[in-house]
Symmetry: C2
Subunit: 114 residues, 2 copies
Amino acid sequence: MSNIQESAHQLEVAIQESDEFKDLKAAYEKVMNEPSSREMFDNFRNVQLELQQKQMQGLEITEEEVEKAKSVVELVQQHEDISKLMEQEQRVNMLINDISRTITKPLEELYSAE
Amino acid sequence: MSNIQESAHQLEVAIQESDEFKDLKAAYEKVMNEPSSREMFDNFRNVQLELQQKQMQGLEITEEEVEKAKSVVELVQQHEDISKLMEQEQRVNMLINDISRTITKPLEELYSAE
Ligand SMILES: [Ca+2]
Ligand SMILES: [Ca+2]
């Protein structure tokens, strides 16, 4: 294994063992283990994915679709376990973004050198 | 420093010390140190950035702009030092992509668990 692969694997393990990731896992499992929560969360993700895909394909998003997405977000925000899950997702995303900034620093420094 | 920050920093150093990154740095410096190469490369990057920004803003890209971009790409591909630099960029990008896949594995595994 190269130094890079070794360091990347160490980082993977550190992420898995972090409080942020453990809390996300617990929040995710809590939602997945309650069928009504799971259905609501799956529905929320499907609506979001559909809109993202349309956006990426440059397709028009109708007013009805925007309204539907808004009401699904409002619904899950009022659901204690799902809103907790979404908070934990955001914490882990911030962690991953911090890491990405760190590992792309050498490239950024190179290209901003002159 | 947390384990994550420590591992991320080790990874940053491993990237900086990798052959891939060192070769990219050498190729970049070779282009930057030759004014005519540098001008051609800067022009190429500006044309690409402009098109990317237009695309992200959902603006229409004219046929003239597509033709201009194509001819700039053809020009830099024939330039030995710049085409070498672009190859090295691709190698480092592949490296970074591999790393990204590794560090997002815990998340992927969590969300594909059920
Ligand atoms: Ca540095
Ligand atoms: Ca794993």
